[in-house]
Assembly symmetry: C2
């Protein structure tokens, strides 16, 4: 095999390993051995197991494995960060094992960090899936919004959108009303529209009041709250007619596409797995 | 005793009984027998005990005791609501026992409800503690903001400010960083200032990033997040130079006074207990 290696997107709860040969994915495997599932001191054994499973191929690890809760802290590269900046800062805990650093921004009194997402973001451009100047969005528990300039990660913002939804559902006064399904339906749209007030604190209590007064169908609150939160997220970042390249699939892609369009933007869905692979292959090429 | 009665502010977790004679408080007593502490079917016995304890004086009950989770659902009066509107809609589950209804607003697609706060709000004006046209704020788990016009409760908005703070502290990624004390200090002020972006979702994740990058002193995040939330709450409702009459004391009065001033308003702290008493006395007078 010519320049074969194993790329691992090693997150907090999940892990995905790609066997890559000549820049293409030969096989991939997903499991739930995220860093929180690895016992204290267990990373060397886990890494040895990965190498053995894949015939001793070199490993290129990205994501929370490089955090202070992971195996080795790979630090952060400052934004603006190009692929070359990141490749130049890999750490090598063992021969033939490298970890990709995260990216931080810390200026004008605002701090933000990412770890793992940078491979996908820069990879989307490497793969030609997004232009060199673009606004990219990776929705999720912590939604990442990245401003790409001349192919580099110029700046970014993280929003606690998904975490706040989960927390409201599990722990708030309105949680019991959020049992229904969420999709990009009429109630979701109403939530996005209500977010135009930029007053999340009162809109959330309004969900309770609407329930008490019988103004919303039982079960419809979850989609409405999702619309409120995604609407607030998108309004803070999407300018009129702005194109957003969305690294997502399934429900999240549908929800963010709908919210972006409703606040006046133009969503384009991009394959996030293909982006990760293109990104990690480029890092490998820059360091081989 | 001339027109003596017992007014009870009977909330979800606490209860406060005032023995009132000739419009003045003769004695008051607070306990934790909120409606959630009364066993199923236990309200008649609780009410009988209250009457016996106070020599059979008439009872005038306000608060969650009149909700569908309380003793009898006293319904809602529509805003705009005057003291006379509320007094006309008391319910009488037993002779000499009355329950004050709540207030609702439901128009232009926005719903809101209150139950118990209306006595304090209208009472502040009855007591001369706020003018007949005013913006009143009762901070708390669910902060109530009331627009008073010609002495009536014209409209109101509830914000989930306190609940969101408690939820973030207990259940979010940034909760472990919110262990420190909250007061109207420099970090609180920074939070209020940061709320000017009207982008709570990213500001909350920024708390995590600041911690990871060492940009905020350990223990300072609680005051900062409190400032973010109260700042967002006040900015949504306080116009430049607008006077806000604040029904609060202690820490909440300090925090909201600071936040209101920082967003350009003028806070005036009002005695909320005196307001409740003035309100309930006026309801009694209107119905005796």
């Amino acid at each position: 095999m010519k320049d074969a290696f194993v790329a691992v997107d090693w997150g907090t709860t999940n892990r995905r390993a790609y066997v890559i040969e000549d820049g293409a994915v030969f096989a991939d495997q997903r499991d739930d051995m995220g860093i929180l599932s690895v016992p204290a001191g267990g990373f060397p054994a886990e890494v040895a197991m990965l190498r053995e499973r894949h015939g001793g191929l070199p490993l290129l690890l990205a994501g929370m494995i490089g955090s202070n809760r992971g195996w080795h802290d790979a630090g952060y590269v400052d934004a603006p960060a190009s692929m070359a900046d990141i490749a130049a800062r890999l750490i090598h805990p063992e021969p033939d094992v490298a970890i990709v650093p995260g990216v931080r921004r810390d200026r004008d009194g605002r701090q933000d960090v990412m770890r793992g997402e940078e491979v996908q973001l820069l990879g989307a451009i490497a793969a030609g899936l997004a232009p060199a100047d673009a606004l990219l969005c990776q929705p999720g528990t912590h939604a990442k919004w990245a401003i790409m300039k001349a192919g580099a990660l110029a700046d970014f913002t993280t929003a606690m959108t998904g975490e706040l939804f989960a927390m409201l559902k599990a722990h708030s006064l309105i949680g019991s009303e959020m049992a229904g399904a969420v999709d990009a339906d009429d109630e979701f749209r109403k939530g996005v529209e209500a977010s135009a007030d930029r007053d999340l604190l009162s809109a959330l209590f309004g969900v309770r009041a609407a329930s008490v007064l019988g103004a919303r169908a039982p079960g419809a609150a979850a989609a409405y709250v999702s619309g409120l939160l995604l609407g607030a997220d998108c309004r803070a970042r999407v300018a009129p007619d702005q194109t957003v390249h969305l690294l997502a699939d399934g429900l999240l892609a549908r929800l963010y596409s709908s919210a972006i369009a409703l606040v006046g933007g133009k969503p384009i869905v991009v394959d996030s797995h293909a982006s990760f692979v293109a990104g990690i292959v480029q890092i490998r090429e820059l360091t081989s």
